[in-house]
């Protein structure tokens, strides 16, 4: 079981670019375009891998190291995410807050690289990303606390097991947690209405801003990291906050269906929703925090059932 989960996680390192590709493809269909194939991200990665690097002047090793650090931390975070309710024993544990910490290190590295280039657009994206992170991390922590409550543990495998079955869905707290985490999914994947991954206008960029100066294999690593982030949050959302039951195989099937459903939901949101004003996003995230606290209150008060 554990070996199968490990194989799926390693496969996830390779499969991750399929997720943004599928979302883009679905979105194009919804908008009546033919759009790129879901495999388009792989083609881009292959193209970038064979191109030469760019070295903006004056930069230091911080700029050159940042894509490697980001990709490394994202890969390690991916290995903490349970698949089919199991976290293989890589020696890294399976703590939810450690996973958050790894993602923060990647964000730190990329923002430091933005300072290193001194590029206005990179810094604009980085400063917006960090501003939203203040609220997003509070929200993420509350969502984790809520999901950890029935398990009495912040271990991701235990949290996934506690959400197994249908009983949990009679708890209002779980609905609130799922709602709060839905916002986290939007922030962490950089999707509309919070960020627009398709924009070519530097002034509206958040996550794409710090990537502007990079080329070649650096850019390939950064794009892969963005795709792997999709894998992390979507698989986590499916494993903790979407219905799943039974043993390893059944949970795996539920997770595949859940991730597919989430991709479709993201594509629909992106089609139906315009991008929000950046300054309005913290209000949305604060509302998510209130939702999570309401869920906690209902759980501590003994539930409404």
């Amino acid at each position: 079981m554990s070996a199968a989960a490990a194989a799926i996680q390693l496969g996830g390192l390779a499969l991750a670019p399929l997720l943004p590709g599928a979302i883009q493809s679905l979105k194009a269909r919804l908008q009546g375009r033919r759009g790129p194939s879901p495999l388009q991200p792989y083609r881009e990665l292959r193209r970038l891998w064979s191109k030469s690097l760019a070295d903006p002047q004056p930069t230091t090793i911080v700029y050159r190291l940042a894509p490697c650090v980001l990709a490394a931390t994202t890969a390690l975070a991916l290995l903490l995410v349970p698949v089919g309710g199991i976290v293989p024993d890589w020696g890294l544990g399976d703590d939810a807050l450690v996973l958050v910490g790894l993602l923060v290190l990647g964000r730190f590295a990329l923002a430091a690289a933005s300072w290193d280039t001194g590029s206005g657009f990179a810094l604009m994206g980085a400063s917006r990303d960090l501003t939203l992170a203040v609220f997003a991390e509070a929200l993420l922590t509350l969502a984790i606390v809520l999901a950890a409550l029935p398990a009495d543990s912040t271990g991701l495998a235990a949290m996934s097991a506690a959400a197994n079955g249908s009983a949990i869905w009679s708890e209002p707290a779980h609905w609130c947690a799922a709602g709060a985490f839905a916002l986290v999914v939007l922030v962490e994947t950089g999707r509309q209405p919070i960020d627009n991954p398709d924009t070519h206008l530097e002034l509206t960029m958040i996550h794409e801003g710090p990537l502007l100066e990079y080329a070649g294999r650096d850019l390939a690593l950064l794009q892969w990291s963005a795709a792997a982030r999709h894998w992390i949050v979507l698989v986590l959302a499916a494993g903790l906050f979407l219905p799943h039951w039974g043993g390893f195989g059944a949970q795996l099937a539920a997770a595949v269906a859940g991730v597919a459903l989430l991709c479709l939901a993201l594509a629909i949101t992106e089609t139906a929703q315009a991008k929000m004003r950046i300054l309005r996003v913290p209000g949305l995230l604060a509302a998510g925090c209130l939702l999570a606290l309401a869920g906690l209150a209902s759980s501590l008060a003994g539930g409404l059932v």
Binding site: V104, A122, V134
Partner: protein, 650 residues
């Protein structure tokens, strides 16, 4: 005497000698070496006692005769003092050389370290209070010895005024504890009933909280820490505020124990306010040392959150988690001491090298000063709380404690802990934001001024000390699990935890820090190899086809602008734009923006105004005429007689 006692006395003797020598005759270098050796011996003895050697010296007593002693908690704080003081003294050699009143500053630094040691080894109220006052005065003298212009004198005045006003709480709580015999016999206070206990706890929260820099009693800290010479700043931020937490721990967890639930919740509230407020104001600073000072408030707040969570757990009877939260707070105390000392020392080097601490006047120093810059980068990563460095370990443990406190069973406590957990997560994000700003503006990009472009790397001790502390950040981050069980043993109800490098805490997914470190380094290295580095084309950064000029460089204010806009109603930034026109053409535009410190404008200024108004009223009766004073005396006498007659007094 046992070997450990010899070690302690030898250390004390060396430290005293090292403090006296420079005042009497020349030789600041030898004096610093003596002080460093003495502090190291004392710290070693403290660490040995922390890791299981029996406690030494006297127990606490309520009497007047001076008594000294070291137990596990004192041992931990002695080790923390040494961890900061030894690198600070190594650094001070090069930093103070040739400065004004070098020998006096060296002597005062020794006195300062000695007073810190005295506070944590005092075993009676008199010695404790003597050490406490000395600890307040010694750094003030050290600041004035090095610089004494009007702004510095004002900062020192505010420091002394606020810490003494607040410090009255320390006297009240200590003397009340001694009066009820609670120092020698914990539990004696609880027998006195809730009111006395409440008085002692509130007085201790105000008194020790002021010295620790807990908001809203923190006003002195961001003024005093930045003006001190860097080694003294490191000691003040790294250790002095922690020694105040030591006093708070003694009162809340030992002398006034068992502390009621409200004390834990109050500490959670103060800690959350300090953590969030400190991080937020750190973010808005333009001066590196002021930024570091506000970040000290934030980190003291994080330690207070851990202590508060521990009290809440203890009141709920969850002894394992009470011990874990206690260990988390102490671990953060040590971690913050290490990285804050590192950052203050590196800031001193930057100031020497580039002639300024204004964030917008530095830049590109990593290329000019790879050793100091690299150490600063490690410190910034550690204080931002990212794995696998030490700041992450203690913040992770504190966050786990708050999360588990949020699991209930009580609704109010659960919600309070959940809000604190969310606040701590936001604090960590704000701290990362602030230190990215500092790192970017100081170390990365292009130099913003010719002075920064010509900066030279430090040599000798000034280079060595930050590197030592950076190594400490990495080591403490790699194996926090070897330390936490020993810290949990210091909790009032000690609970064991397996001593292994990883932090395997029940109810969590565990923090396998050595493997995380290894994983991150190895994977980054592999990707670095895969990336290759030969075919990099040198290009200018993209600025819509414009040449990238210094005028286009991002500023400290620009980077934090989105957050300013989001939190406008909280921060209330002020900005002035002056446009000079000549015959319809704009000649120049001047921009000035600042974020006023709300606690100063909304709390301290009205309080000061009220106090001055009261003083003016009181002056009215001070006519200077002898007849009026005779009348006052007569009136007082009559009132007293009347009271005695009615039986109200006497």
């Amino acid at each position: 005497m046992s070997g450990l006692e010899w070690l302690l006395w030898a250390g004390a003797l060396l430290l005293a000698g090292g403090s006296l020598v420079p005042v009497l005759r020349r030789g600041a270098g030898a004096a610093l070496a003596l002080q460093g050796l003495g502090t190291a011996l004392i710290g070693l003895a403290g660490a040995l006692i922390l890791f299981g050697e029996p406690a030494l010296g006297a127990d606490f007593s309520d009497g007047l005769s001076p008594r000294l002693g070291v137990d596990g908690l004192s041992g931990f704080f002695l080790a923390t003092i040494a961890v900061v003081a030894v690198p600070a003294l190594v650094y001070a050699r090069g930093y103070l050389e040739g400065g004004p009143r070098e020998r006096l500053t060296v002597g005062l630094a020794g006195l300062f370290i000695g007073s810190l040691i005295l506070v944590v080894t005092a075993r009676d109220p008199t010695t404790f209070l003597a050490g406490w006052e000395l600890m307040t005065l010694a750094p003030a003298a050290a600041i004035l010895a090095a610089r004494s212009d009007a702004t510095v004198r004002h900062a020192v005045f505010v420091y002394l005024a606020v810490t003494h006003l607040g410090g009255a709480g320390v006297w009240i709580s200590l003397l009340a504890l001694a009066h009820y015999g609670a120092l020698g016999e914990p539990g004696a206070l609880a027998a006195q009933g809730g009111a006395v206990q409440a008085l002692v706890i509130v007085a201790a929260l105000v008194g020790f909280g002021t010295k620790a820099g807990l908001m809203p009693m923190h006003s002195w800290l961001p003024r005093a820490h930045p003006v001190a010479p860097s080694p003294v700043s490191a000691l003040m931020s790294g250790v002095m505020v922690k020694v105040a937490l030591y006093g708070l721990v003694r009162v809340l967890f030992e002398w006034a124990a068992p502390a009621p639930l409200w004390a834990g919740l109050a500490l959670l509230g103060l800690g959350l306010l300090s953590a969030l407020g400190g991080a937020l104001y750190a973010l808005t600073q333009h001066d590196l040392k002021r930024l570091l000072a506000f970040s000290s408030i934030e980190n003291v707040g994080i330690a207070a959150l851990g202590l508060g969570a521990s009290l809440v757990f203890a009141a709920g009877g969850e002894e394992l988690w009470a011990a874990i939260a206690f260990g988390a707070a102490l671990l953060h105390v040590l971690n913050h001491a290490v990285f804050k000392a590192l950052l203050f020392l590196a800031a001193g080097t930057f100031e020497r090298a580039a002639g300024s601490l204004d964030l917008d006047r530095l830049g590109g120093l990593l290329r000019r000063m790879p050793w100091t810059g690299g150490a600063f980068l490690v410190g910034a990563l550690a204080i931002a709380g990212v794995p696998p460095l030490n700041g992450f370990a203690s913040e992770w443990l504190t966050l786990q404690a708050l999360a588990h406190a949020a699991f209930g069973p009580s609704l109010g406590v659960g919600l309070a802990a959940a809000v604190a957990a969310a606040g701590l997560a936001a604090t960590a994000a704000l701290a990362a934001f602030a230190f990215l700003k500092a790192t970017g503006l100081v170390l990365l990009g292009a130099a913003r001024r010719p002075e920064a472009a010509a900066a030279r790397e430090a040599v000798g001790g000034m280079r060595l000390a930050p590197l030592l502390l950076a190594a400490g950040c990495i080591a403490l981050g790699a194996v926090p699990g070897l330390l936490v069980p020993a810290l949990m043993e210091l909790a009032p109800q000690p609970r064991g935890l397996a001593s292994e490098p990883s932090l395997a805490v029940p109810g969590t997914g565990s923090l396998p820090s050595p493997w995380l470190l290894l994983g991150i380094v190895a994977l980054t290295g592999l990707l670095w190899l895969a990336r290759g580095s030969r075919r990099a084309a040198p290009v200018p950064a993209w600025a819509c086809g414009e040449r990238v000029e210094p005028a286009l460089a991002w500023t400290s204010a620009g980077f934090t602008k989105p957050l300013h806009l989001v939190l406008e109603s909280v921060l209330r930034p002020r900005r002035e734009v002056t446009v000079v026109r000549e015959r319809g053409l704009v000649r120049s535009v001047a921009y000035r923006g600042e974020v006023p410190h709300l606690f100063d404008t909304a709390l301290y200024r009205p309080a000061r105004r009220l106090a001055l108004r009261g003083a003016r009223l009181a002056r009215r009766i001070q006519s200077g005429s002898v007849r009026a004073y005779a009348a006052y005396l007569l009136a007082l006498l009559l009132v007293l007689l009347a009271l005695a007659r009615t039986g109200a007094i006497g």
